[in-house]
């Protein structure tokens, strides 16, 4: 009797388990079906998933008011998947690999080509209705196709962020050469302020100087350089100037023009350092100026080109924060509808106005830009004194280069050794990627 009861219990438990496991599968199926029918029919509510890094949660595309309006207009609900900033790439890679794809992904186009296998994983958007209204297709395209969507074409500029008031008080001019830059540092240091803030605990921050300097050198003296590097016709160690640029940044530190503990300080401290007027300059992008002026609009910051060479050009980062639709999106039509909605004249105008974007749609006007931005436009963009930074030309993950840059500042590697280490790693990654010539 007793054994019988036991046997019964066990069978029931096993059956329950089996059912619950099977149910998972069944659920997926029914989801898929409802998705498919949702494509054509109206009225039935569909939920689409939008994956975005937590660090981009302030993006205008995921503002709750916009999502609510979209839902009211189309009966499509957008569910946000906030991914941890540190792991955004890994999580997205995994989701795409196991076909657990979100319907829309916000990511950076340049990194998507290196990290997410753009061609295999994402839908080509050439035939979307909004494409004909786009002013600058380049910032949304790769491999000759439009792969992403954005209402802005302002790519973000990288150079030396500086406190204009401090420069004025000390009677300093914007330096045009590296020697002038060192003189400026000396003058600021003498006034009791830290000339340059280096938050190199975040290894990527050490790359701003070289990324702009390398690109400026290539654009002026060696236009085929990056093609040669990517085709293994030349090596990173073949260009003596690279070594010089790496050493320049190190000299700024070595001469005592920076915060003392550069490898302990992180990027998130930068805004505070500028607000407290503890530092005068930093090698960074104009997004930092935006963050600072949000906290204190009276603080007047500007941006000038990395003074690695006589009259260097201002580094332009590849545009970031585009929206992508994965090929395996379960609600492709609804996802496309979301892009269409944002691209519509009224909605796009509202976003562009709010964010002070440089509009990328021919029927949406660019609002009055903040002073620092207007200055960049006047001094660099209009006279065509900008150049895409090295990042725009790289096909593989760069974090190992950034780590080597940290090594330079611990004294573990000379600039030459940094380039040698990156040469090896770069060749390895390119070979793994299957790039011809490696």
């Amino acid at each position: 009797m007793k054994t019988k009861t036991k046997k019964m219990t066990v069978s029931i438990v096993t059956a329950l388990l089996a059912v619950s496991l099977a149910a998972c599968g069944a659920n997926n199926l029914s989801n898929n079906e409802s998705g498919n029918t949702g494509n054509g029919g109206k009225g039935e509510k569909v939920t689409i998933e939008l994956a975005i890094s937590k660090s981009s949660q302030d993006s205008a595309f995921v503002a709750q008011s916009l999502l609510d309006e979209f839902e009211a207009a189309t009966n499509i609900k957008v569910n946000l998947q906030l991914l941890p900033a540190e792991q955004t790439t890994t999580v997205l890679q995994t989701k795409l690999a196991v076909d657990e794809t979100p319907d829309i992904v916000q990511y950076n186009l340049a990194s998507a080509t290196t990290d997410l296998n753009l061609e295999r994983n994402f839908e080509i958007l050439d035939n979307e209705p909004w494409v004909s209204r786009i002013l600058n297709k380049d910032v949304l395209s790769a491999y000759g196709h439009v792969y992403s969507f954005h209402v802005s074409q302002d790519t973000g500029m990288q150079g030396v962020v500086y406190n204009k008031d401090m420069f004025k008080e000390l009677g300093l001019e914007i330096p045009k050469t590296f020697e002038e830059f060192l003189a400026v540092c000396e003058a600021i240091k003498a006034s009791g302020v830290t000339p340059v803030f280096m938050p190199f605990k975040d290894a990527w921050a050490a790359n701003i100087w070289p990324a702009a300097a390398f690109a400026d050198y290539a654009a002026k003296n060696d236009p085929t350089l990056f093609d040669d590097l990517n085709g293994n016709k030349r090596k990173w160690t073949d260009v003596p100037e690279f070594e010089k640029f790496l050493d320049q940044q190190y000299q700024v530190y070595k001469k005592g023009y920076t915060n003392a503990d550069i490898l302990s300080d992180s990027y998130d401290m930068a805004v505070g350092k500028f607000l407290n007027k503890e530092v005068a300059m930093m090698f960074m992008g104009d997004w930092l100026i935006e963050s600072v002026s949000k906290q204190d609009p009276s603080l007047s910051l500007g941006l000038f080109a990395i003074p690695s060479d006589q009259d260097a050009k201002l580094g332009a980062s590849p545009l970031g924060g585009q929206l992508f639709i994965p090929k395996k999106a379960k609600h492709m039509a609804e996802a496309k509808k979301f892009l269409e909605y944002i691209a519509s004249k009224e909605v796009a105008q509202k976003i562009v106005d709010q964010q002070a974007y440089v509009s990328n749609l021919n029927d949406v006007t660019t609002p009055e830009l903040p002073a620092y931005k207007q200055e960049i436009v006047d001094n660099y963009i209009t006279p065509k004194l900008t150049t895409l930074t090295t990042d725009a030309f790289m096909l593989v993950d760069r974090s190992e280069l950034y780590r080597s840059l940290q090594d330079e500042f611990t004294g573990a590697k000379t600039p030459k050794q940094v380039l040698e280490a990156w040469n090896t790693k770069f060749a390895e990654l390119m070979k793994d990627k299957g790039v011809e010539g490696f």
């Binding site: 054994t3 036991k6 066990v10 438990v13 096993t14 388990l17 790439t89 890994t90 890679q93 690999a97 990290d115 997410l116 296998n117 295999r120 605990k201 290894a203 003392a260 503990d261 490898l263 302990s264 593989v396 993950d397 974090s399 190992e400 780590r403 080597s404 940290q406 090594d407 500042f409 611990t410 573990a412 590697k413 990654l429 793994d432 990627k433 299957g434």
Partner: protein, 291 residues
């Protein structure tokens, strides 16, 4: 009758547990073992078998070798540090002290904190102008000041020290339980025979504490070899690659899209842990004595 009492429950009762364990652990582990012999990558459509290539690459990559060296340093330092300190604490807090329970709670408390909290507390303290260096300077030992988290030659030792600080209390709790199961009579007999405190400790406490030592050695050793979170939150493997351990290197490999390589490093870690811990377990078991 006797046979029946030996196996109170029928064997088939183990099936549900075994099934879940297989589906969620054994099968993925075997699949992982297979993938470590492939060139599985982010940007490949096909997965091909490449034999031992991933493993050859592991042993020819300087950073990976450095990571293994760091992992071993971390494991050995923490095993010794945690266990020696924990036994000392346990013996001390097994004595009749007024504040005994209070002190036990104090020493145990770090181990219930999240490692993220530990990182937020320790990172500022360990800066070059941080509290620890200032403390050294105040007491006239300025030469002890170090760049704890940014000097490549000492960073892994710093992380190990933080880990010892955090987990010793947990090990102490296990030793305390072990100590309390030792009968007082042995000590009384030893005292009558004229043994001092040190001799009682060596000849009574240590041998009878062996089961607890065993458990703690295993826990700290396996934990030490599998270390990830302490390194990740305190240094992220940096500066450069100076404090990379096998755990963080696996993350790096996955981040670079080299999934096959990442899986291979993981498999290797599994094998290393097994090779070191199982013989040690057998050896230590033999040493155990019955009370």
């Amino acid at each position: 009758m006797l046979k029946r009492s030996k196996s109170m429950y029928a064997y088939y009762l183990v099936w549900p547990a075994l099934l879940i364990y297989s589906v969620f652990f054994v099968v993925p582990a075997i699949i992982g073992f297979y993938y470590s012999f492939t060139d599985w990558r982010l940007d490949r459509d096909t997965i091909t078998y490449i034999g031992w290539d991933n493993f050859k690459r592991i042993f020819s990559d300087e950073t990976l070798l450095l990571a293994m060296k760091n992992t071993l340093i971390f494991a050995i330092v923490t095993v010794i540090g945690k266990n020696v300190l924990a036994i000392a604490l346990a013996v001390a807090l097994n004595m009749r002290l007024k504040t005994r329970n209070f002190l036990r709670a104090i020493f145990y408390s770090p181990s219930i904190l999240s490692v993220l909290v530990i990182s937020i507390v320790f990172t500022p303290m360990l800066r070059t102008e941080g509290m620890i260096n200032r403390m050294f300077e105040t007491i006239g030992l300025g030469s002890f000041s170090q760049a704890w988290l940014t000097d490549p030659s000492i960073v892994i030792w710093t992380v190990a020290a933080v880990s010892i600080w955090q987990h010793t209390g947990f090990q102490m709790a296990i030793y305390l339980a072990g100590l309390q199961s030792i009968s007082k009579e042995y000590y009384e007999a030893a005292t009558i025979d004229g043994a001092g405190l040190w001799k009682s400790f060596i000849h009574i406490t240590l041998p009878l504490l062996l089961p607890a030592i065993n458990i703690n050695l295993m826990l700290t050793l396996i934990g030490g070899l599998k270390v990830f979170s302490e390194v990740f939150v305190l240094t992220g493997g940096g500066p450069g690659n100076a404090s990379q351990v096998v755990g963080t290197i696996i993350l790096r490999a996955f981040g670079e899209g080299s999934w096959g390589l990442g899986t291979a490093i993981n498999t290797l870690l599994f094998i290393i842990v097994t090779i070191i811990s199982i013989p040690l377990l057998i050896f230590m078991r033999r040493k155990e004595v019955a009370e």
